[in-house]
Symmetry: C2
Subunit: 447 residues, 2 copies
């Protein structure tokens, strides 16, 4: 077999260094989730196609990875049947974590204690055309609470955003809006029926600019007068409190709109009272594409790195309705691990220590030293110190090179002299400094 | 949609309590791997079918989950082509972590620093008939070092087994054997060519007993005299040292066999010198089915719970040969997370604390208390204490029930009296005891 093996397009291997960085992100996010009382959940990679199909729009259906039925799936079928994918495939890989979560909640509704606070960190698969930054397999980190309408949950998510990005060292802004306000705006400009059209159009404001959004609104059937009314709302300036005050006037004619304004005000008041150290901004141009949102919506942007949003989410009042369980409100947010990774790499935010989980490596200088080294290693590991020994008595240079390439910070050398003195030479691989240390003090020195 | 949703046969949802227990196992195993200098690796869930096919035998090929090519895969194909799975599927879900690891090593051989110490904890998929204890999606926890023949690696794996199961509280025995010894035995009974037949037969000794193994050996073409010679070897009694001594005599005519004896002796000597606190037993009936092993083989059995082996592995001299990279020796072991879970559950070994990651929940007794609670919660979380508040001012009974069902150990109550006194009542949910604590001392008391 001469051909070098490869992996499918759009998928990735993660090397040890990449994994340690990724785990740092995942571990940080998960530990914050746990601080707020969220508990882990995992669902299978495969779902029945009946669970997945029709949940992500026509485009989404095409992006599902389908799994061939096992066994002689094609042997007893007519040609026509083989051509119908449903006869040869009944399962698909999950496309996101939201639909499986909704499916789980409905399936296990009698065992679950509501409000149900869960987090889920697992890969999802999309048969998208692979391109820079877009993969066919990638992780999502979702946190949701379902079974309560309390706005404390929104406040909690704001705190989670604050704490996650502070822990990672990324400066961010949290943009918020509310679908009820968007509905209110549609209502007061006389187009309550076109709420989704308006939402889809203004969602593009960031990307295509105001003029193109106006053009799209025209295409979607809004007359010039309505577009005129919309513009000043989208361009609303000032503090959150000032925007809230203006909206109260503008939306006076829309009950739903005013409800949205009240919700946002409550959240902002809590954010202020708790002195949450995060830039939280009411952004009326924020719409988010997913149409199951019904209340608050969130999006997080990195301040020091050009990239799309690195987290997003919102409240949905009827997510489980698609599986027959009506009127269970929830709210959640998803952290984009791949983009967060890119921001951290771009801004140099990964801690140096992540390059090696091993603290020290013992050189292998022959049988006698090896025996002593193995015993010392046992003691170090008992103290929780990650350490290893080069497995063969190779040339010193080769062993040092190995330590260097693995980026292990300390090398422990036990030669003939050291053996006699019951001391080890420790070499700091960054500074190059060496010092002799008694065997008994090795753990203490390496910590 | 009236029908309750479900998941594919042989797959599982993991509830929060199950997840916290599973994570406890995974975290313990991974932290031991890291103590020994192993670094994490992840490979994609999908591999090209050319990578997977032919690596697991004819039976294994049938158990691969194949993924339909995306797009209009069937539209432009003839009926004949559609029937050839290769035209409609080019990717499959990984079947184990070993073949993807071998593929990774070959593909990235120029970037890898050998000896390469990696661990990998990811799910694998097999289209097996689902039954009790056998799933179509399950996790493997593999640890391997590749690129050295040093027996220190075997010793390290023995230590890892010792430390993992000690940390989990499971009493185990490690059974070891060596493929070179098995070859030597085949050689001295005059059937070097039948080494695999003999291996496969004696691998079943545990399950079907000596008489049936003999019958199978007869079927596989061994004459009575050879079987007679084999029996005392399989039934060898005594300490490891005694068995080693006997084998030296028995295998005097086999160079390979003696090499295997030397290898085992070296490992056992290290185990003794290091005072490894683990029952390590040379078991000549241990064969392990996978035919890529060429040296030491391992298997771990739980002493207090009836179940198959809970870990297993061995040395392979040419794993990467299937992808064109010859003569790279490695050794590894895989921990069976599902079985370990069953043992821990059966023996009651999961720590009580795992039932809830939340330490305390604040009851929600109305607006004023809520505001104070949110501030206190912020302080607790800043101290690393996982805590939450019931999101709505529901009936006290309902909130207490919630705390109970979530198995949260402490409930914090801030009523009108407590508000005035700036104190909180803490209720221990296990003992039922209550005490009043100043707000400022809350973190300290809950720790």
């Amino acid at each position: 077999m001469a051909q070098k093996p490869s992996i499918p397009k759009g998928t990735r291997d993660f090397s040890p260094v990449e994994m340690m960085r990724r785990n740092y992100i995942f571990d940080t996010i998960k530990s914050v989730f746990r601080l707020y009382g969220f508990a882990p959940l995992e669902t299978p990679s495969m779902e029945n196609l009946s669970t997945l199909l029709g949940k992500y729009g026509e485009e989404g259906d095409k992006l599902l990875f389908k799994i061939l039925n096992s066994g002689d799936y094609a042997a007893n079928l007519s040609d026509e049947e083989v051509r119908q994918a449903s006869k040869i495939s009944e399962k698909g890989l999950r496309y996101d974590l939201t639909v499986p979560f909704a499916r789980y909640v409905v399936q296990h509704q009698n065992e679950i204690t509501f409000p149900f606070k869960r987090y889920q960190v697992q890969p999802v698969w999309r048969a998208d055309r692979p391109q820079k930054g877009r993969y066919r397999e990638f992780y999502q980190c979702d946190v949701d609470v379902i079974g309560t309408k309390s706005l404390l949950c929104e406040v909690e998510l704001v705190e989670i955003v604050e704490r996650v990005f502070k822990a990672l060292g990324i400066r961010v802004a949290l943009k918020m809006n509310n679908r009820k306000i968007l509905y209110g705006i549609a209502e007061v400009i006389g187009h309550a029926d076109k709420m989704m059209d308006i939402t889809v159009a203004i969602d593009k404001l960031d990307k295509i600019g105001l003029d193109n959004v106006k053009a799209e609104l025209r295409e979607r059937g809004l007359e010039e007068a309505a577009i005129e009314k919309l513009q000043p709302i989208l361009e609303l300036q000032g503090t959150n409190a000032e925007k809230i005050a203006t909206l109260r006037t503008v939306l006076a004619g829309s009950e739903t709109g005013l409800l949205g304004v009240d919700e946002m005000e409550t959240v902002f008041n809590h954010v202020e009272a708790l002195e949450i150290d995060l830039l939280v901004e009411l952004d009326l141009s924020l719409a988010r594409g997913l149409n199951y949102y019904t209340g608050a919506i969130f999006e997080v942007k990195a301040l020091d790195y050009q990239i799309g949003s690195i987290s997003g989410g919102g409240r949905y009042d009827n997510l489980t309705g698609i599986f027959g369980l009506q009127n269970v409100s929830g709210v959640g947010i998803s952290f984009g691990a791949d983009r967060i990774y890119d921001v951290m790499l771009g801004c140099g935010l990964f801690p140096e220590e992540l390059n090696s989980s091993t603290r020290a490596i013992f050189l292998n200088l022959g049988d006698d030293a090896e025996k002593v080294s193995l015993k010392l290693l046992r003691e170090l590991r008992a103290e929780g110190l990650a350490a290893e020994i080069y497995p063969e008595p190779a040339k010193m240079k080769k062993q040092m090179e190995y330590a260097n390439r693995r980026q292990i910070p300390f090398v422990v050398i036990i030669g003939t002299e050291e053996l006699q003195m019951e001391m080890a030479t420790i070499k700091n691989m960054v500074s190059g400094e060496q010092q002799k240390v008694a065997f008994s003090r090795l753990a203490e020195m390496l910590k």
